[in-house]
């Protein structure tokens, strides 16, 4: 991939994979960003311990569209997890080759959040944001929200393919170091995707003296189409306004939800776009 490297070096791009999520878009996005950052790509396939626990229960059943309910045994689950892991590995290898990045792959068994315990704050974690659907539309809850709580660095939840249109929209609340990291991360992704960056901030911040210069200085290394928008203070109005924008990716600070995955999920599920959470 051409263009300048990301301003803040990323040590690794870690892509979180499991058997329940749609992983292809996440893998492709992770490989592109790794190539952009000249960082290695590392895949972690999580064998969800909840599934294994369930399979140990005597009454565990699996219900599928194509057949009647069938007993869900540990062997059955382990077999399907191995198949899913191998499929994920193949997709990772293909994406890494396609984008010319070095890669590694590991399988971790455990709870969703503990699987990413090894990620550092210099790692960008990418995960599929959608569970694989049942009956075309219905999706069970995405199992990676809890992982956001324990991830020390930026976390990108991917719901769409790389080529989807739209701008990067970020919610900037202040000028703290955490907000600067959020701004840089959003700018890097907007630049990598060649899309515009809309900075939505509260009226007080937008009207503060020297804000625009401060913003321009922070984005000096990122040639993006910048748009500053004063966001409504009232949460519902803010949500409506974000929904009206052609939002391809929404970047938020973890402070928005006080680091709690369930609140972040509640906020993010209002939107269908990708979500970037920066701590």
């Amino acid at each position: 991939m051409n263009g300048p490297p990301m301003a803040r070096p990323i040590e690794r791009v870690v892509v979180r994979l499991d058997a329940a999520s749609e992983s292809r878009a996440a893998i492709d996005t992770a490989a592109r960003l790794a190539a952009r950052a000249k960082a290695p790509l590392h895949g972690i396939f999580v064998e969800d311990e909840d599934l294994l626990h369930l399979a140990s229960l005597p009454f565990a059943r699996q219900i599928t569209l194509g057949a009647d309910a069938e007993p869900l045994t540990t062997e059955h689950v382990e077999l399907h997890l191995r198949v899913a892991a191998e499929r994920a590995r193949r997709e990772l290898v293909a994406a890494a080759k396609r984008h010319g990045v070095t890669f590694s792959f590991e399988i971790v068994r455990g709870a969703s959040e503990s699987a990413l315990a090894g990620a550092s704050e210099r790692d960008l974690v990418v995960a599929g944001g959608l569970a694989r659907p049942i009956a075309g539309h219905f999706r069970v809850e995405c199992r990676c929200w809890s992982a956001i709580e324990v991830t020390p660095g930026p976390f990108l939840l991917v719901r769409h393919g790389w080529s989807a249109s739209g701008d990067v929209v970020m919610l900037l609340r202040d000028r703290t170091p955490a907000s600067v990291r959020l701004l840089e991360a959003a700018a890097q992704i907007a630049e990598a995707r060649d899309s515009g960056l809309t900075v939505m901030c509260p009226p007080a911040l937008a009207g503060a003296a020297g804000f625009e210069k401060w913003l321009a200085d922070r984005l000096a290394d990122h040639p993006v189409r910048l748009q500053i928008e004063v966001g409504p203070a009232e949460p519902d109005a803010l949500h409506r306004r974000i929904g009206e924008l052609d939002c391809r990716l929404l970047a938020v600070g973890v402070g928005l939800a006080e680091g709690r995955g369930d609140r972040l999920r509640e906020f993010a599920e209002r939107f269908a776009c990708d979500i970037l959470v920066v701590r």
Partner: protein
């Protein structure tokens, strides 16, 4: 021209005997009879270009009548076989005649193949008035192009999107409501829905986390049982919802399809209506357009999909084009016969009549390593193009072409053209193949071929007589009259015009007419071989061009004739050279007993020339057998053997009435190393035998040709001109003596069209052509001894040849009787 016989040769005659007009038997023919000139003064023009062009061939009234009848009569099997010699102009005449007739006939319809939307393996045929097939094809192409723009536009309109989203939302809502309610009910009971790799499962939870097995096992049994029952109940509900999903999906698909059909129908209605209006008079086309409309509605996705394949998959340009086209190929119209520019009925000549070129073929495209085909790759054959008109084929090519004859008969018998691959025809293909709907056949076929082929087919092919009821028999020669001579001049005029050659003056035309007589070896006939004439005209024209002349004269024509002979005469010159060097012994002077110069014709390629052969006979005491040495060594053909047996019959008839023929005789062509056939040397063989019997020497200055019958009559032979010229050239190389000549059957005099140098030699008395009608006339010429006529008792006058022969045979008989007595006496001795 000197009409008087040259004195030197006339002395060798046997006295004038009345024969044909203008000559006497046994006398040198007057030069005027050696070559029938065409007098330029009788040609009423200076240049042939002044003449009106001849309307067609000359002297082919019989063939023309047959052809005219064939094109008039309607009915199965009235196809034509035009038989005649190669180069006689049959092809051009047949085509000219058919074209004149076809111009006045109605133009046949266009034929198209279109997709069969019920079964693509069986393409449908469409019949349209001439010119409207191509218009339909263009209209269908326009329709597809317009639909490729109109349909995506229709499906991108807000109205469609809103309705489509409503359907999607309805489906989504239904599934979300069902699953959501189930999920909420489960969560209220601390049970969660988990996504397994294959489906869904229900798990008990505590504090939002799935209960680990060890914790579950620590629960009181009643609690465990309660959880299990609750899970099983929710599971049952979940199964019920899951069972509904396929129904919802089907309803969803049906709803989307109905919307798509409605949207498509609305978008294409006016386009289809416009198209239909143009073909409202053709119900078959209207039905086809109905099928097209139905198919577009069913397959609208083809028009909505992007033209290019998925990004990131590089494909070469032609392949991309193929993929794109493949989606719409089924809407194309394959116009296999377009008569839009045809005026009248077609006349088609197929030069390479094979199965495929006659009934059409199925082509294939290589796509992703496989060969694929469809109705667009059906290609018309000559029968399609000629349908409603005339098809001209070369019979020999048809019979030797790849299954051409069998396929033609099949089509004519069935009255329809079925495009099949050879594999299908021979039942060799087990793959699925196109079975195009057959097209009704209404064609008149004219086969042009040699007579032998016609007779062979008539005798050996049972279907031939049913399918080719008309024979158009072409003459290879016409009577030479003032009228045909003038027609010939007009034909020459037409040919020079057609070939864009220089005009000929009257001397040149006269010479060509003389050559026409020479070509058929008959002074009273003219050849109808157009090919030979066109060649001669072109070559004469080239000589005129080389000489810088604007008009072709006698010199150029003669130069062309001489050059034609010279180009092929290497072997002939070599033979003559060897005769001059005595390697081949041909005596052209002196006298020999039992030896005579016979004459034969050798054909090598386009050249035929005469070759003298020394025929010798030896006699001895025997049992009345004449041994043909050629036959004994299998070098004699059946006709030659027949000639020898006939002369034996003559011998027995004349001399065996009163005495036994106690002789054995042997006859041979000396220095002959190839096969000998024909009976034109039978007279010469008889003369050699009689000379040997009479011990009367034969003048070697003569050569002789002619066949003999059992009564001693001399009969006509072929190639008389070449034979005479062959001996003349032999005399030239051995030296003219003024006594040389050739004895020919009187019935061949009318065939004489000799070379000018031979005629000149005859005029100067250096060479003579002497006609005879009987064996006795020949004997007297060759030996100078009277033959002698038998008296009432069958005895010949003393000193005559026949008396000497009879005496020799008597001597043989007496000797034989004596030997028999001796043998008998010896046999009686104890």
């Amino acid at each position: 021209m000197n009409d008087q016989p040259a004195s030197g040769v006339a002395e060798a005659g046997v006295g004038p005997q009345p024969a044909g007009p203008g000559f006497a038997l046994g006398q040198a023919l007057p030069p005027a009879l050696l070559y029938r000139r065409c007098d330029p003064a009788e040609l009423p023009f200076a240049l042939c270009s002044e003449l009106e062009e001849a309307p067609g061939l000359i002297g082919q009234e019989r063939a023309v009548e047959a052809l005219n009848f064939a094109v008039r009569i309607r009915g199965k099997g009235y196809n034509v076989y035009a038989l005649g010699a190669s180069g006689s102009g049959r092809h051009s005449m047949v085509e000219d005649l058919l074209r004149r007739k076809a111009e006045r006939e109605p133009t046949p319809p266009d034929w198209c193949y279109v997709n069969n939307f019920d079964d693509a393996q069986q393409p449908r045929r469409l019949q349209l008035p001439p010119g409207r097939g191509a218009a339909l094809a263009a209209a269908m192409k326009r329709l597809v192009e317009e639909l490729r723009a109109a349909l995506p536009a229709a499906f991108e309109r807000d109205e469609y999107r809103a309705r489509h989203e409503a359907i999607e939302q309805q489906f989504k809502q239904r599934s979300e409501e069902a699953f959501g309610a189930l999920q909420r009910g489960a969560e209220a009971k601390n049970i969660t829905l988990l996504r397994t790799p294959m489906g869904l499962a229900l798990a008990p939870t505590r504090d939002g986390k799935v209960l680990a097995p060890e914790l579950f096992n620590e629960l009181p049994p009643a609690e465990r049982e309660r959880i299990q029952h609750e899970i099983e109940a929710i599971q049952s509900d979940l199964e019920g919802v899951m069972r509904q999903v396929p129904l919802w999906e089907r309803e969803h698909r049906d709803a989307v399809q109905a919307l798509n059909r409605e949207t498509t129908g609305f978008a294409i209605a006016h386009l289809m209506e416009e198209l239909r209006q143009g073909y409202s008079d053709l119900p078959e086309v209207a039905r086809y357009l109905d099928a097209v409309e139905r198919d577009i509605k069913e397959n609208v996705d083809d028009f909505l999909a992007p033209a290019a394949p998925e990004a990131g998959v590089p494909m070469p340009g032609p392949m991309l084009h193929d993929i794109e086209d493949a989606r719409f190929r089924r809407y194309q119209v394959n116009v296999i016969v377009d008569n839009g520019r045809q005026h009248g009925a077609p006349v088609i000549y197929e030069d390479n009549p094979t199965h495929q070129t006659l009934v059409g073929r199925v082509e294939h495209l290589a796509r992703f390593g496989a060969l694929v085909t469809d109705f667009n790759l059906l290609v018309a054959g000559a029968l399609h193009r000629a349908n409603g008109g005339y098809l001209v084929l070369d019979a020999l090519k048809l019979l030797t072409g790849n299954f051409g004859w069998a396929s033609l008969k099949r089509a004519l018998n069935a009255g329809q053209i079925r495009i099949e691959t050879l594999e299908q025809l021979l039942s060799m293909a087990s793959t699925v193949a196109l079975e195009a709907e057959p097209i009704p056949l209404d064609v008149r076929v004219v086969l042009v071929g040699p007579p032998t082929l016609y007779y062979l087919l008539s005798a050996n092919d049972e279907e031939f007589g049913d399918l080719f009821k008309i024979a158009a028999d072409f003459e290879d020669r016409v009577e030479r009259t003032p009228e045909t001579t003038l027609l010939y001049a007009r034909l020459i005029c037409a040919m020079t015009g057609r070939e864009k050659l220089r005009p000929l003056d009257r001397d040149a035309v006269a010479r060509i007419i003389e050559q026409a007589a020479r070509l058929v070896g008959d002074a009273d006939k003219l050849s109808t071989s157009l090919r030979a004439f066109i060649d001669l005209l072109r070559e004469s024209d080239q000589f005129a061009a080389d000489a810088g002349k604007e008009v072709v004269g006698l010199a150029e024509v003669q130069a062309a004739i001489d050059a034609q002979f010279r180009r092929g005469d290497r072997i002939y010159r070599r033979l003559q050279e060897e005769i001059g060097r005595k390697t081949i012994r041909i005596e052209t002077d002196g006298e020999e007993i039992g030896q005579v110069n016979g004459l034969s014709v050798i054909s090598l390629g386009t050249l035929a020339f005469g070759q003298p052969s020394r025929i010798t006979a030896r006699v001895r005491l025997g049992r009345g057998e004449v041994v043909d040495i050629e036959r004994e060594v299998a070098l004699g053909g059946p006709l030659h053997s027949k000639g020898v047996l006939i002369l034996s019959g003559f011998l027995g008839g004349r001399f065996g009435k009163n005495r036994p023929l106690s002789l054995n005789a042997s006859l041979v062509f000396e220095q002959s190393y190839g096969g000998v056939d024909g009976d034109s040397a039978s007279a010469a063989e008889l003369f050699a035998l009689l000379s040997a019997l009479a011990e009367a020497p034969i003048k070697q200055s003569f050569a002789l040709t002619g066949s003999v019958d059992q009564r001693g009559q001399i009969q006509a032979i072929g190639g008389v001109n070449e034979k005479i010229e062959g001996f003349f050239d032999s005399c030239r190389v051995t030296g003219f003596t003024g006594r040389q000549g050739v004895i020919i059957p009187a019935s061949n005099v009318r065939h004489l069209m000799l070379r000018r140098d031979v005629v000149a030699a005859a005029e100067e008395g250096r060479f003579a052509i002497l006609p005879i009608d009987t064996v006795d006339q020949g004997l007297e010429l060759l030996t100078g001894i009277p033959a002698g006529q038998p008296d009432a008792g069958g005895e010949y006058p003393a000193g005559t040849l026949n008396q000497r022969i009879a005496a020799r045979l008597d001597a043989f008989a007496a000797k034989a009787a004596e030997l028999a007595r001796l043998a008998s006496g010896l046999g009686a001795r104890p």
